[in-house]
Subunit: 385 residues, 2 copies
Amino acid sequence: MLNNYMRIGIFGGGQLAQMLTQAAISLGIEIVICERVADSPAARYTQHAIVGPWEDETVLTTFAHQCDIVTLENEFIDAGLLERVVAQGVPVWPAPATVAVVQDKLWQKERLAAAGLAVPPFRSVATPDDVLTAAQAFGWPLVLKTRRNGYDGYGNATLRTAEDVLPAWERLTRGGSPLLVEAWVPFTCELAVMVVRGRDGTIASYPVVETVQQNHICHIVRAPAPIEAKLAAQATDLAVAAIQAVDGVGIFGVELFALADGQVLINELAPRPHNSGHYTIEACVTSQFENHLRAVAGWPLGATALRSPAAVMVNLLGRRNGPITPTAITAALAVPGAHMHFYGKREERIGRKMGHVTALGSTLAEAEAIARQAAALVAMPDGQQ
Amino acid sequence: MLNNYMRIGIFGGGQLAQMLTQAAISLGIEIVICERVADSPAARYTQHAIVGPWEDETVLTTFAHQCDIVTLENEFIDAGLLERVVAQGVPVWPAPATVAVVQDKLWQKERLAAAGLAVPPFRSVATPDDVLTAAQAFGWPLVLKTRRNGYDGYGNATLRTAEDVLPAWERLTRGGSPLLVEAWVPFTCELAVMVVRGRDGTIASYPVVETVQQNHICHIVRAPAPIEAKLAAQATDLAVAAIQAVDGVGIFGVELFALADGQVLINELAPRPHNSGHYTIEACVTSQFENHLRAVAGWPLGATALRSPAAVMVNLLGRRNGPITPTAITAALAVPGAHMHFYGKREERIGRKMGHVTALGSTLAEAEAIARQAAALVAMPDGQQ
């Protein structure tokens, strides 16, 4: 070790790195943030911050040499860069090979399908004609996706007829990523499971949650998902098998579709803490953030059980464009039982994740009422409070 | 505000400032640490750290100008220095006048007594002869104390006979602080209550806890204290009245003695987060740290109720002198339900507070068994894990 406490480096300085830092404090772990720009939400809470492009050799080397272990808060870092960190003698968890598979949605689905896990029908497409051919096999609608760098609906298009193909192709290929196409899944609800796996292969899963999206952005998470035990068990088994299939180390978000016929399909994996796991901070014995640190450090995993019968998280999404209002959350703080999390982003943008609120309750309805009440009080203009 | 988030400065960079920082992250509050030495536990988790003697005009001014509000993590800062910060236009909470009264144990007791609150008999002593005179009034044993800068038993002496007076006088006057003497209280148990008071006078109290000391250092905290409801109500009323009497703003620790006859006396106040309130991080709706930040920021206070029937905190006290063992807590992390907190101090010293562990349970016995099991696994020599 570099000194007598473990020092973990994180590629990325957003809210996930910030909440990892919050968990690190309890464990005596020091955090090093590597982010392209200065004054990132996470960099404000460490004395070790490297600012610059990850691709820059000096940035990468300076960063690596300050860390005992490196991890990441988003999957938009090329696995090749992670290999360069490993080559400098600093382990990266999850391993670059895992990130390489997960960050490419085609490779990810191929890996899951090869392991016999249920995923929607998918195929690689090299031309618009390939999409039309896929439509003959899968039927309409189709979902066209970039293989890399998509998030929160960016990089996705739902195609309802042949006329939708060309405009979507045009838009999605702009970033340079190749595309894949998937059958549209008539899901009855979306589920998610956080799975954590240690360096020794020990694996643990959190409760299955229901996620509700708003314009492709996670809006509400209900824990546990109000579904039958059999369905929850099926979702958990799939999620655990998926993380084993990609040889994951650390925390992973597994998004799933539940179908009317009782089938569950894997939608996507995220090789990092995930929005659908924020509720674990207050609602579970060990948060997803603490368990990620334990896993990548090679330490024992913590218990993942719920501490409350029900928990609901509501995202605080930006409602306007402009500098953040200083007193945005003060009114919401008055709601008893509302656990506020405000990420410290300088600029509010419509739809941007500015924070979240979690509430616990004896029922989902009780928790959701508290969380929604608090969320509705956030971001009122100055002077109205 | 200096920027679009609130920035709170803390005098002191120890574990209390570190846990305040952890709570600040959720609220979007930025932290500035002012500490005499570099590499303090809290300074590692902020990009805003001022290093130097608090008395230095440049240090004080540089610090003040980076903060919207200033607070403190220990009471050993002269209230006159806090007044200098206020004179620069930066509010200090708790107010310098409150800190002045609380940091002097004679003034503190005088203020409490003047408010009609029950405290042990006490008086100021200017000479060893004054102590002998006090013994005639109070009887033996007596407790001789420095008026300022005492903590964890430093600055205290129990006098059982007249022969004990001179050696204790010699030792305790070395630091230059005047002394006071108190009647020794035959308590049946020690209690503590955390009280938080907002800038608008709103006040809230946490559950009454039992504290168990080891060599004058807090060792175990049991929440709620296993005492009758009537006694708990009496302790709560006294604690709340005490913080009103000193016009406190922020979180305060109130230590109390419970006597065999059902009487409760105030032992001491601490104008800051307190070891007897660490259990609130996992066990209460809002932690003592978050509520301190809410109070000094002028924001609504959070709910203080227990989230679990019982919680027990065990301090991790140093068992040897030397550099900290890197893998000190890994074995303890394997104990399910043990919430580990390790403060990141570089040097272990016998009796030094290195961290703490909190466990929850349906009974105190269940929680205490978990916390003790984890604590016993900490600080094993390298290689034994």
